[in-house]
C-alpha cells in the first residue's frame, strides 16, 4: 500500500540505523508516547537496530490501557441492563472489570456490539428507538473529533436514545506528569503522530522548554520511527531541546482546525483518572453542559461506582515507563492475552501484549 510499504524498506532502515550509531556518544533514554509506535518498535525489531546506549521506554499512549477499571465496571453495569445496547471499539471487550469483562456480559445475553466508528453507534440508535444505545467513548485527541461528531449529529438529528460513556484523555498532561515525577528517566520524547495530526504541536513547545527535553513528532512506520529517533538523539547530542516534526506528511503545526473546532463545541477539559497513575488535573475531555443529555454517567446515575485496581498488576508503572512488561511477576504466567490481569495485556497497543506476542523467546 502506498505511504506504508516504502516506509518499511529494509535497506533504508539500515542507513538510518547506521547514522544513529555514528552520532551517538553516550547513553540516552527516549520514550515513545503512542502504543501504536510501541507495537511497531517491538514487531519490526527497531530497538535491535539501535546502539546499546539508546534505550526506548514505552509510554502511556494506549487509551484502553489507561482507562480506569472503574469506567470498565460502569460499562459492564450498563451492558448488563435489558434496555441498553452498549457499543464499543473491540479492544475494550476483554479488559477485566471487578469480576468479569464485557465479553462475558455479551456471552450471558447482554447486547454488546463492536463498532468501527462512533457514527455506527448513532446509526444503531436511530434503528432501535426503543433501546438506549450507549457508545463507550475512549481515546486520545485522535479519536475525539470522531466522537464529537457522533454527539453533534445525534443532537442535530434529534436521536435522544443515544448517549456516551466518556473516558477521553489528553497527551500533554500525561507527559507533564511523567516529566515532573521523581522517578522519571526520560530524556527525549517521540510524540504521537496522529494525536498531533489533530492538535498540531504548538502546545508541546512550553513542555520542551520547561523540562529541557527534545520532542519529535513521529509517525508509525519503521522509517518514521528510526528517523524520529535520529532527530531526537541529534538534539540530545547537540544539547538542544526543541519541538521538531518528523511526520510532516500528515502533521501541520496548528493541526486540523475544523476537527478542533467541533471538539471544542462538544467537549470541555476536565480532570481524569488514569489507570495506575491516579487523577491528573485537566487531563481529559468531558461533554459540555449543552450536550449533558448525551452523558451516560448522568442519565444512568453511574457516579457512585468505585472500584480499586488489581494489586498484582503493575500496569501503572509500565504505563509511566518505570518498569518493562517482562519485569512483572505475573507476565506470561498468571497474566496472558487470554486471561489478562490488566489492560496493557489486552489491547492491541498495550506494551505487555506487544512483549507477549513478539518477545516470548527473550523472556
Amino acid at each position: 500500500m502506498k505511504y506504508i510499504d516504502e516506509y518499511r524498506d529494509a535497506k533504508r532502515a539500515k542507513q538510518l540505523s547506521k547514522k544513529i550509531f555514528e552520532i551517538t556518544t553516550r547513553t540516552w533514554s527516549l520514550m515513545e508516547i503512542c502504543g501504536g509506535q510501541t507495537h511497531a518498535i517491538v514487531k519490526f525489531g527497531i530497538d535491535e537496530l539501535l546502539p546499546k546506549e539508546i534505550s526506548l521506554v514505552h509510554g502511556p499512549g494506549c487509551p484502553v490501557c489507561v482507562t480506569p477499571v472503574e469506567l470498565i465496571e460502569k460499562s459492564i453495569t450498563l451492558a448488563s441492563r435489558n434496555d441498553v445496547i452498549l457499543c464499543s471499539f473491540g479492544d475494550m471487550l476483554r479488559v477485566p472489570g471487578k469480576e468479569k469483562d464485557l465479553l462475558a456480559v455479551k456471552a450471558s445475553g447482554g447486547d454488546v456490539r463492536i463498532v468501527y466508528s462512533p457514527m455506527d453507534a448513532v446509526k444503531i440508535a436511530a434503528e432501535h428507538p426503543s433501546k438506549n444505545v450507549v457508545f463507550f467513548a475512549v481515546g486520545f485527541e485522535t479519536t475525539a473529533p470522531a466522537n464529537a461528531m457522533a454527539v453533534f449529529q445525534a443532537k442535530l438529528q434529534n436521536i435522544a436514545n443515544f448517549s456516551m460513556l466518556v473516558s477521553h484523555v489528553l497527551v500533554p498532561p500525561a507527559m507533564e506528569a511523567i516529566l515532573s515525577s521523581s522517578q522519571n528517566t526520560v530524556q527525549g520524547f517521540l510524540a504521537a503522530g496522529h494525536v498531533c495530526t489533530v492538535m498540531g504541536f504548538e502546545e508541546y513547545i512550553p513542555l520542551a522548554k520547561k523540562y529541557n527535553v527534545p520532542i519529535v513528532v513521529t509517525g508509525f512506520e519503521p522509517l518514521d520511527i528510526l528517523q524520529g529517533i535520529l532527530m531526537c538523539v541529534k538534539q540530545l547530542e547537540e544539547q538542544r531541546a526543541e519541538v521538531e516534526n518528523q511526520y510532516s506528511r500528515s502533521v501541520k503545526s496548528k493541526g486540523n482546525i475544523p476537527a478542533q473546532e467541533l471538539m471544542r463545541k462538544v467537549f470541555e477539559i476536565v480532570p481524569r483518572k488514569w489507570r495506575g497513575i491516579g487523577e491528573i488535573p485537566a487531563s481529559g475531555l468531558g461533554l459540555k453542559k449543552e450536550y449533558a443529555m448525551f452523558d451516560a454517567e448522568k442519565i444512568f446515575e453511574l457516579k457512585n461506582i468505585v472500584v480499586n485496581e488489581s494489586e498484582t498488576c503493575i500496569a501503572g508503572l509500565v504505563l509511566q515507563g518505570v518498569k518493562k512488561p517482562n519485569e512483572c511477576s505475573a507476565f506470561g504466567t498468571v497474566c496472558t492475552p487470554e486471561h489478562p490481569l490488566g489492560a496493557p495485556m489486552v489491547s492491541s497497543e498495550g506494551a505487555c501484549a506487544a512483549y507477549f506476542h513478539f518477545r516470548r523467546i527473550a523472556v
Partner: protein
C-alpha cells in the same frame, strides 16, 4: 487505538458541510469515510483515516522528505569517498 491508515479518495458521495463523505480505497478495500474534517481533499488525494474519519490529507512533497534525506546522505558519502 490511534491507529490510522492512508487511503485514496475514489469519489465524493456527499459534499454538504459537516456531512462530507466519500469512498476511500485502502489497498483494494473500499469504505465509505467521513471527510468533514478534510474539506480541502479531493478525488485521487490520499487521506489518513481513523475510526471512519479522515483526519488529514497526505502532503506529497513532505512524504518524500525522508527519501531525499537518505539520498543526500548517500551522495555525500560517495563524494567523501571519491575525495579520499
Amino acid at each position: 487505538m490511534c491507529l490510522a491508515i492512508p487511503g485514496k479518495i475514489e469519489s465524493i458521495t456527499n459534499n454538504e458541510l459537516l456531512q462530507r463523505t466519500g469512498k476511500v480505497n485502502f489497498g483494494g478495500i473500499i469504505k465509505e469515510i467521513n471527510l468533514s474534517y478534510v474539506p480541502e481533499a479531493t478525488v485521487d488525494d490520499f487521506v489518513i483515516v481513523h475510526v471512519g474519519f479522515a483526519i488529514s490529507t497526505v502532503d506529497k512533497d513532505e512524504a518524500n522528505r525522508v527519501f531525499e534525506y537518505l539520498k543526500e546522505m548517500e551522495e555525500l558519502k560517495e563524494l567523501n569517498e571519491s575525495n579520499e
